[in-house]
């Protein structure tokens, strides 16, 4: 499953760099694309950053266990914004819409070649992962933030040499 998680993350991260190169965050003094995998961040870290995408991996199961090894795994992309200080935070809605647009862009096309990144290099695993169209939750209004959760189901074929 790790290869699936890594492949999905690397795919959407690279697409984000392409479609919205200005959407970056600074962590530990390093500028990086504004997308993170929550389970790869330090426990007890600070609250989620604004204007950044957090991937949360959920449950997984076999799709048709009697006839196929195909599996599905839930993924939630969460993000929030409080707009910009220059606009007196009156642009929260527009900022959220911009994040929504980025999600649509990075999720298409809804498939990718699966790779193993465990060695640091990308090793082609000769199968694809693919996912459903993103489903956007209702807007979460928690002043001063506006946020949203996006649900996606990712499909993959497990490899024997993967954990």
């Amino acid at each position: 499953m790790q290869a699936t998680k890594d492949t999905f993350y690397v795919t959407v991260r690279d697409r984000l760099v392409a479609v919205d190169p200005q959407r970056t965050i600074i962590i530990d003094g390093v500028t990086r694309p504004a997308i993170l995998v929550a389970e790869n961040e330090p426990p007890g870290g600070g609250p989620p950053l604004c204007d950044a995408f957090y991937l949360y991996w959920g449950g997984a199961r076999a799709v048709q266990p009697a006839v196929s090894t195909l599996m599905e795994m839930e993924c939630t992309i969460s993000y929030r914004t409080k707009g910009t200080d220059q606009s007196g935070n009156l642009d929260r809605g527009r900022a959220l819409a911009s994040l929504d647009n980025d999600v649509l862009a990075i999720c298409a096309p809804p498939n990718a070649e699966k790779c193993d990144y465990s060695t640091g290099a990308d090793v082609d695993l000769s199968s694809t992962i693919f996912w459903t169209q993103p489903v956007f939750s209702a807007l979460v209004n928690a002043p001063p933030y506006l946020g949203r959760d996006v649900s996606i189901t990712v499909f993959f074929y497990p490899e024997v040499n993967q954990t």
Binding site: V67, S68, T69, L70, P110, N111, L125, S126, S127, T128, F130, F155, Y157, P158, E159, V160
Partner: protein
């Protein structure tokens, strides 16, 4: 869990929809657009090989065979000795969410007429009344740029649909540049029907911009080549007619691109409509509904050059990279 079980799992295509491409059948010589799985099978779905034209995604794709299976029987029990097939026949049905010149033509199956912009105060007609006179193309015209004289340019605006083809001069047979768009068994009066070919032609596009000497088009004209003597007219709508006698004929290519890897293709060398055009209504958020063009098509036979076998449809499958071969 065995390796073969995992490889076998990838033999099952997991796909979202079927993509459709068509190409005109040359008539009367019967020239058919080829589809070679080895050379063309893995084409970019957004850039199909020439001469295939993209019709987009379809719903409810359903193939049925109507070929008759007969048997020779022998002995007191009437046991089957041998089977054979007669009257090879196949049908194809699907729904096209998108309307337009090509989708309407494929599903309607008869002349798909361009309703030309009409002169004011002329008697109305179902397929278009007396049209605004055509504007002759000038030298330098291409598939994406129509050169016109300055006075004629004033007749067109950005956003207009346009039809480009020759004047009708009394000819019979198949008419229309590039794509056989209509058939006339006997000539019309050329004086009264000078625009007839432009009424049926597939050589259409939309004006994207105007320069001082030309109309720039949003899409290339559909049916090359451009030849001297062609003219352009504004198109207001498309119309087909229940009761028409003409049968259009197309080659069809239906692709099932699997997200799980692999691809299935269904290549029909010859397709004609099997029923008059009608629509399928599908509600998606009441009261909104999708009014899809329903295609009911008949596959006509061809002969495979490799062995002379009769063919209605070629079904090909490109296995996923890591799928079992068998």
């Amino acid at each position: 869990m065995s390796i073969s079980y995992m490889k076998r799992s990838q033999m099952a295509p997991a796909a979202r929809a079927v993509r459709v491409y068509i190409a005109p059948v040359g008539r009367p010589n019967g020239q058919i657009a080829a589809f070679d799985p080895a050379a063309q099978g893995q084409f970019n779905l957004d850039a199909p090989p020439v001469p295939w034209l993209d019709l987009g995604w379809v719903e409810n794709f359903q193939r049925t065979s109507a070929t008759k299976y007969e048997a020779l029987r022998s002995g007191p029990m009437g046991n089957i000795t041998v089977q054979y097939r007669t009257q090879p026949e196949a049908r194809l049905e699907f729904d096209l969410p998108a309307w337009g010149k090509l989708p309407m033509a494929l599903t309607g199956g008869t002349q798909l007429m361009n309703v030309l912009a009409t002169l004011p105060l002329k008697p109305p007609q179902g397929s278009g009344g007396q049209a605004v006179p055509a504007s002759p193309l000038q030298s330098g015209s291409t598939y994406t740029s129509l050169a016109l004289t300055g006075d004629q340019l004033q007749l067109f605006d950005v956003g207009d649909l346009v039809a480009v083809d020759a004047d009708y001069t009394g000819q019979t047979g198949y008419l229309g540049a590039g794509v056989p768009a209509a058939y006339l068994a006997s000539p019309l009066n050329p004086n009264a029907n000078v625009d007839y070919i432009r009424r049926v032609t597939f050589n259409i596009s939309r004006v994207a911009a105007k320069t001082s000497s030309a109309l720039t088009l949003t899409q290339p004209l559909l049916a090359p080549p451009l030849v001297p003597g062609m003219s352009v007219q504004r198109v207001m709508a498309f119309v087909d007619r229940e009761g028409s006698s003409f049968f259009q004929e197309w080659s069809g290519l239906f692709v099932v691109p699997a997200d799980s890897g692999g691809r299935a293709c269904f290549y029909y060398p010859r397709l004609q409509v099997a029923a008059s055009g009608h629509e399928t209504r599908q509600e998606f958020a009441a009261p909104l509904f999708s009014h899809m063009l329903h295609a009911s098509l008949h596959a006509l036979p061809t002969s495979d050059i490799n062995d002379g076998e009769t063919v209605l449809c070629y079904r090909s499958y490109f296995p996923a990279q890591c799928a079992a071969a068998y």
